[in-house]
Structure formats: structure tokens, C-alpha cells
Amino acid sequence: MIVAAYPTSDQITALAPDATSLKAGRELAAPRKWALLGGDAETLWGLAQGSGKEPYQTRVALDGLSTKCSCPSRKFPCKHALGLLFIAAATPAALAEKNRPAWLVEWLTGRAERQEKTKERAEQKTAGIAAPVDETAQAKRLEKRAGRVDEGVALLSQWLADLARRGIADSGLNAHAAWDDIIRRMVDAQAIGLARRLRYAAEAARGGTGWEERLADHLGRLHLLLVAYARREACDADLRAELEQQIGWTLAQEQVLAGPPVNDSWFVAARTVREEDRLVVSNTWLQGLSTGRWAQLVRTSPLVQPAVDTWPPGRTLTGELCFYPGIEPLRALWRGEPQAGAADRGAPGAESIEDVLGRYASGLALNPWRTRLPALLSARPGTLRNGGAGLLDASGAALPLRTDADTRDLVLAITGGRESLISVLWDGEALEPLAVADGAEWVPLTRQNLER
């Protein structure tokens, strides 16, 4: 990624692994805390006075915003790197030194070499020249795992049938205990996808009005998945891949990257960061400016060392995406580093509510397990017949908005009650607003960092 200018404060905020680092980084954004500050068009560097005897050597490469610091912190980027970036954003004049020190040059050279090697290795891997794999052992491992998953699937089928027999009103399903055991067993069976679906179902069971319909929907889709998975041998490759991923089989990245890439300029429509199962999950939703295709980048990292994608909503990235195999897949990976446009190129065209509903319905026909759809709406906030909050498009059609009061206030403040571009997720019941355009600037409506 090539950034023409120094990153903005929003971008740096998005880079911070958590709120604590962000705060510490801001505090370090005072030039007096640095023994040396330097920068040019490609890199930033500084010597931060820490608690140790020697100052820490902090380096930032502006392409890709990668950082390196000699401090002992395990956070990445560390507070010193964030502080250095904040200085570049707020008081670039403070980066007075122009001669790159040796410790910076050394890092930059090493980094360039490493990048070259990674590229080579990736190419070798895709071309199949990589180290030979012990195929027998691998097949054995896979078989063992498949056996475990099959046991899990059988167990869950039985569990669902029991539930259907007893009825969902009678089973104390709003208690955590009713779900914990079966969820744990799915985790043990390495059917993570099933465990996750059960968790959503458990949430629905504890939900408010309409819980019985929502829970029945979850159970029905789960049943459909189990039935289809049992017959996967008879399905075509795409459907089979879809089913396996839905159950919880993971694909190696190189397998995904071996697929045909889609080249486009991708508009970052939304970005979310949340904690799930002691993992940090960052989602970035992209839409291709010329293909109109949607993509979802998912990045998971352990809570102790969070790593997230850092492109804030509203930016455009040019590059090749490889989509995971499956039915109308959304999930994708970058092949190579994407290039961030120097100036933002504007958002793709917006959809009407009818468009979104149509796309959702035809998507469900192909893939009944894809229940959340990203969309870019041109809409204004309003009030539904039942008094709830909603978004209305130019035709007067409206959909309910699932949001808290603070987010609703934010949407009102930014749109002023007028039609604006809003990126949303539609789940068949309500819209979840993710980001809204304030002129050329996009404002995220979801958390962009983990608060702890």
C-alpha cells in the first residue's frame, strides 16, 4: 500500500490495537518526549525517551504503515509508533531530522528483502514448487478430522430432533446451560461453524418479542445445513466448499490465493472490530468500483496481540482479491498489497431498498445460510409505522434500523434528516448501520477499536 501523504488521525486511530495503546500513543504525541524526530516521504523515525537507559528506536514505513520499535512492548503497533504517527499527522514540522540513521536504513533494507522473499515463496507455493508435503500423513489427519466432524454432525442432528419433538416452548432454552453442553461438543468435534450458529440461536432464544420465530429460523437453517452436508459428495465443487466452510473446515490461504483474482478499485464501505471467543475479529467490507462486487476481509487475532486491518471507511484500495470458494462468496484475501488511492475516489453507486431486498432474496435462493448482506443505501432516517427507527429511500420504502439511541443520534446529526449514503448490513429483519457519509468523509458507526 502506498500512502502519498502522512496518515490522518482517523487512520492512526484505526491502527491502534486497543484503547490503552491509543491513549498512550496520544500522550507520546508531544515532541518534547522524543530525543530525535525525523521523517521523509517514505518513512518516519524517532528516539523515544522511555524508562530504560537508552531511548527506544521507533521506525514507521509509510507504505503499509508497518512499524518497528526497540521497546519491549508486545502490542503492535506499540505506543511509540502510534505517538510518532500522531506527531506526523498533527505537527509534521516537528519531524526536523532529514538524514536517515543507520538503524533505520538497516530495517528498511531488511524489510525490502523479506518482502521480496515472501513474494517469492508465495509464488512458489501457488506454482506448487513448495516443500513436498507428506501426502499420506496429511490424508490421515484429514480423515481423522472428518470422522470427528461427522460424529458432531450426527450428535447435533439428534439434538435438533429432540428439540423439535419437545418443542421450543418447553425446554428452558433461555438458560445458558441449555446450550453450553452442545456448543462445547461442537467445538470438541472441530465443527466451529456449527458452534457459532448454535451461539446465535442461543442469543435468539434469549431475545425479546418474536424470539420463537427467530429461534425456529435458526434451527431450520441449521437442520438444512446438516442435511446438505451429509449429502455433500453429491454436490458440485462450489456448494461442497460452501458447506464445508459453513460447518467449520478452514481453507489454507494459499488454496484461496490459487483461485482467480478479481482486480478492481475497492471502496471500504465499513469496518468493524469486535471480540468473539477471546479473539479479536476485524471485518472490512469492500465494494468494487467497477465490478460492483462485495467482499469481506476477516482478520482474527488473539486478544493479547490484536491485529486488525486498518483501512477506515471511505478509502479506496486498488488491488487483486481472491475469493474463498463457495456460493457467491463474500470472504476474500488480498493477493499482494493493495494500493491506497492518494485521493478518495468517491463511493460506488447506491442501491434502493427494493434492490437490496431483491439481491437478498436471490442470494438466499442460492445460499440459504448467508443471512447477512452488506449494502450501500441512499436513504434518510425516519420513523416507521410502529414508531421504531428506520431508513427510508427515495421511493418511500423503509426498513427498520437496529441500533442504540446514541448511534441513531449520530446518524441524525450527520444526515440532518436528508438522504445520504449509508453502508449497512441487512439480515432479513433489520438494517445494522455501519458507516455514513458526511460529505466526502465517512464516519464509522461501529466500534473501531477494542475497549477494555
Binding site: A164, L219, R385, G416
Partner: protein, 507 residues
């Protein structure tokens, strides 16, 4: 609630099923016919899958929803720079919140507005604080005013905004308050007339807020309402506001009565050096006093007669005493000695000054109070009284009062309270002195005597011209205690805020 047979089946389970459920929606008829109900559980789960898909795919837009009735008007002011907005965002999240009022003032001076995305957070923060509400109003822009109007709590921000002339009859409370202020400024007679008309129908809260507006700057037109109604209102807050207003209206009958009462109770005896004030407490409570807002029942621990006298004295401004005895304020305070009831006199004076401090004698009174050996027990604390007196003084006079607080450890608390609780900006010389005292307090061993909140307040008071020196001196300290670090950070933050509003970044 009527439930369809299929929902009943999912709720009660197939074990209670008597017959296969009928299709819940005609669109599913064909698929429904394919379900094999001999395998009941599988059929029920498959039916759930069908319904789920149909519900998702069949979702429709709601057609008769209402958009926002009136979208926000077009914006006139330009938005502030992204750098300034980023700093504002941090303050609204709680960092260096004391600099917020300065940010708002700078934005107003540069003729720009808050960015849309920051309006809800700004309104939430400023709605709770009057000074902030006033400072925020000019930078809200059309959008902010539009947004504030939508929420009861936020509407208070608009109380100082210009409102339409019909607001008094048709507006919300906040708009009526705004109207009252607006009209009182240039047509007090009309404002008083409107207020008198509305008074009998007003709720307790409304009366309290109206009386508060009158007390901001009472005029002779208000006398009739204040004396006739507000002074004997059922709400204590209304009565106190009325008394505070009437204190500043010598032409009111109430003021005449109060002066007469005090003249009857208080006098002077002795000559020259021996001259002193005397007080004779009233023997009984006159029922007619009630109409003057005088309460009969004293709080626990106070004698009723002294309580009545104190209230009467509190109804007369200090300037009435100086002119009656034809002495300066300093001399008057000196005369209050030796009498058995001298503390009652002092308490009455304090109450009067708290209600309506007078520019002419506030400095002298503050200096007198600072010099007191014993602070009267039933008076509000010095930290409440002195800042109130400072509100009517100019910064130089404030600085003189501040300088009079002895530099002893015992009085240090009061010094910092005064420095931090009042809103004035210190003149340069006083600021340097304040910085000296604070630096010493920061470095006191074993613990710094100043806390982080004090440090932040000091950072706000320092004139920006001395900020550079403060930063240098703090950075030169051998070790930074955490309050000192706080001070340093707050000053730097202020400098950043100022920088963000200058056109180009200084190199």
C-alpha cells in the same frame, strides 16, 4: 395472540402434534406438500428451514413510514478543521475536558462550527453545564440547533439562542426562557408584563426558572411581581431568587421595609476608637414578615431570634450599611466587633453578598473574610463565599484577593480553591506567582500537595503567553510528579488547540 398451527407446532413440539400443520403462507404451498410427516421431527425442522428462507426472501419495505418532518436547514458556517475536530473529539471523550470552553470560544472567534459527527457528543456534554451551553451555542451551526431541538435535555442549550416572538406563547420551556432573556434585554416592561400574566398558571419548576432569569439582572419593572408573588412563593428557591433580586432594587417597598427593620435592630455606639456596631434581636416573630420571605422556624442549632435577624440583614445590601453609617466598607467591617451578636451581623452580610455581591465592596469584603481568625460555623464555606464575591470583580482585583491568601500550608487549600473554582483568567504577573506556588506544591515531599485536577485547572488559568515558560520550567524539574505531568500535558494540549485554529502550522 392468535398463532398459526406451524408456530404452535414449533412451540409445543411434535410429540403433542395431532395433525400436520397447515401451510403458514400460500407461497409455500408447493414446498409444504413435499414434507413427509411420517418422519415428524425431520419434517418439522425442514418446515422451519422453509419458513426461514421464505421470511428472509419475502421481506418487504414498510411503505407508510415518516421521514424526518423537517430536515435540517442548509449550513452557513464552514466546519472547523479536521485537526481541531480531532482535538474536540478527545475532549468530549473526557481527555482535557477543561480546555473545552476555550476550544468553543476559539471556534466561535474563527467563525466556524463543530463537525456534524461531533454534535451528539458535544450536546450531551454541554447540556449539563451553563457556561459550556453558552459557549457552544455559536458553534453548533444550523445542524446543531436542529438536533438540539429534538431532545428535552439538549434543548436547554438553546436557552440563550434568539427565538421567534411567538415563543413565549407557544414555545417549550427552554424557548420561553430564551424569549424572556431576549425581551428583558431591550423591553423589560413588556417582559415583566408577560411574566406577570403567565405567573399564576406556571408550574413550580417554571416559576423557579423564571425567577432565576429575573435574578440575573433585576429591573424596577420586576418589583411588583417579586414583591407581590415571588417573595411568598411556595418554593424556597423562588423566594430566595426574589430576595436576591430585590436586594438590588432599592426602590422596592421590600427594600425599604428591610432597611427599616435592620435600622431598628442595628445601631452604633461609642465614639471614635470605641465606636462599634450593636444588634438588638427581635423579641417575637411578626406574622407579616412571612410575606417578605422571612422564615419563622430556624434550622436545628440556631436560636429563632438570631435566625430572624440574620434573614433581615441578608435582605439589605452591604452598601446600605456603608451609606447609613457613612463609612467605607473596610471601616464598616472593623466596626463589627465586641458585640454579643456580631457573628449574626456577619452571617447576614455573607448571605446578602452571596445573593447579590456588589462590585463596590466585594474586594474589601473578601479581604476582610480572608483575614478572619475564625470562620463562622453556620456560614457557607470560604470556598463557596469567596468565589461568589470574585464573580463581580475584574481580574486585577481577583488577583489582589488571591495574593492576600497567606502563603501558609494551612491556607494553601483555600488559595488553590480560589484559583480553581473561579472563572477568571489570571493577569500575567499573578499567573507567574500562581505558577511559583503550584510548582512548590507539586514538589512537596513526601507527597505533592496539589492533585491532578488542580493541575488541570491551573493549566486552564495560565495565560497562553506564560505557557511556554511553564512548560520549560516543568520539563526542567528533576522528576515529574503525576500532577506536574498532568499540568504539562494540559498546557501542551491547550497549545495544540490554539495551533489547530491558526491557519498554518508553525514550523
Amino acid at each position: 395472540m392468535n398463532r398459526d398451527p406451524f408456530t404452535i407446532l414449533t412451540l409445543l413440539g411434535t410429540e403433542r402434534m395431532t395433525a400436520p400443520p397447515t401451510v403458514p403462507h400460500p407461497v409455500l404451498t408447493e414446498a409444504w406438500a413435499g414434507l413427509d410427516w411420517t418422519a415428524r421431527e425431520t419434517a418439522a425442522l425442514s418446515a422451519m428451514a422453509l419458513v426461514a428462507a421464505a421470511r428472509g426472501a419475502g421481506a418487504m419495505g414498510v411503505s407508510d413510514s415518516k421521514p424526518e418532518a423537517e430536515p435540517a436547514p442548509v449550513e452557513i458556517l464552514p466546519s472547523c478543521s479536521s485537526g481541531a475536530a480531532a482535538l474536540l473529539r478527545r475532549m468530549l471523550a473526557g481527555e482535557h475536558a477543561i480546555v473545552l470552553v476555550e476550544w468553543l470560544a476559539l471556534a466561535a472567534a474563527h467563525g466556524c462550527r463543530v463537525r456534524f459527527r461531533d454534535l451528539p457528543a458535544l450536546l450531551r456534554v454541554v447540556a449539563r453545564d451553563q457556561a459550556l451551553r453558552i459557549a457552544a451555542l455559536p458553534v453548533l451551526g444550523e445542524r446543531g440547533v436542529w438536533l438540539a431541538r429534538r431532545t428535552d435535555e439538549w434543548r436547554r442549550v438553546l436557552e440563550t439562542a434568539r427565538v421567534e416572538d411567538g415563543a413565549w406563547e407557544t414555545g417549550e420551556l427552554s424557548e420561553r426562557i430564551a424569549w424572556l432573556r431576549q425581551i428583558r434585554a431591550h423591553d423589560p416592561a413588556r417582559a415583566a408584563e408577560s411574566l406577570a400574566k403567565a405567573w399564576p398558571g406556571a408550574s413550580g419548576e417554571e416559576r423557579e426558572r423564571f425567577a432565576g432569569v429575573v435574578a440575573e439582572a433585576p429591573t424596577p419593572h420586576d418589583v411588583a411581581l417579586l414583591e407581590g408573588e415571588a417573595l411568598k412563593d411556595r418554593r424556597r428557591e423562588v423566594r430566595l431568587a426574589a430576595r436576591a433580586s430585590l436586594l438590588r432594587l432599592p426602590e422596592a417597598k421590600f427594600s425599604e421595609r428591610a432597611r427599616a427593620q435592620v435600622a431598628a435592630m442595628a445601631g452604633a455606639e461609642g465614639m471614635l476608637m470605641m465606636r462599634r456596631l450593636t444588634l438588638r434581636l427581635p423579641e417575637t416573630f411578626d406574622a407579616a414578615w412571612k410575606a417578605n420571605g422571612i422564615e419563622e422556624k430556624p434550622p436545628a442549632g440556631t436560636g429563632p431570634r438570631a435566625f430572624w435577624a440574620r434573614q433581615w440583614i441578608a435582605s439589605v445590601p452591604l452598601s446600605a450599611w456603608t451609606s447609613r453609617f457613612d463609612v467605607s466598607a473596610e471601616k464598616l467591617f472593623a466596626l463589627n466587633r465586641d458585640d454579643e451578636w456580631r457573628e449574626t451581623i456577619l452571617l447576614g452580610w455573607i448571605d446578602a453578598a452571596m445573593a447579590a455581591p456588589e462590585k463596590g465592596n466585594a474586594e474589601a469584603f473578601a479581604l476582610h473574610l480572608i483575614g478572619l481568625a475564625d470562620w463562622p460555623k453556620s456560614a457557607p464555606s470560604p470556598a463557596e463565599v469567596l468565589p461568589r464575591l470574585l464573580t463581580v470583580l475584574d481580574p486585577e482585583a481577583c488577583a489582589r484577593v488571591l495574593a492576600a491568601v497567606p502563603a501558609t500550608e494551612a491556607d494553601e487549600g483555600l488559595y488553590f480553591e480560589l484559583l480553581f473554582r473561579t472563572g477568571f483568567h489570571l493577569p500575567d504577573v499573578a499567573a507567574r506567582r500562581a505558577l511559583e506556588r503550584c510548582l512548590a506544591a507539586f514538589q512537596a515531599k513526601p507527597y505533592p500537595r496539589l492533585q491532578s485536577n488542580h493541575a488541570r485547572e491551573l493549566a486552564r488559568r495560565l495565560p497562553l503567553a506564560t505557557a511556554g515558560e511553564a512548560v520549560r520550567r516543568l520539563a526542567a524539574l528533576p522528576e515529574l510528579s503525576s500532577p506536574a505531568e498532568e499540568l504539562l500535558r494540559a498546557i501542551e494540549f491547550r497549545q495544540q488547540v490554539h495551533q489547530a485554529f491558526t491557519v498554518s502550522l508553525p514550523s
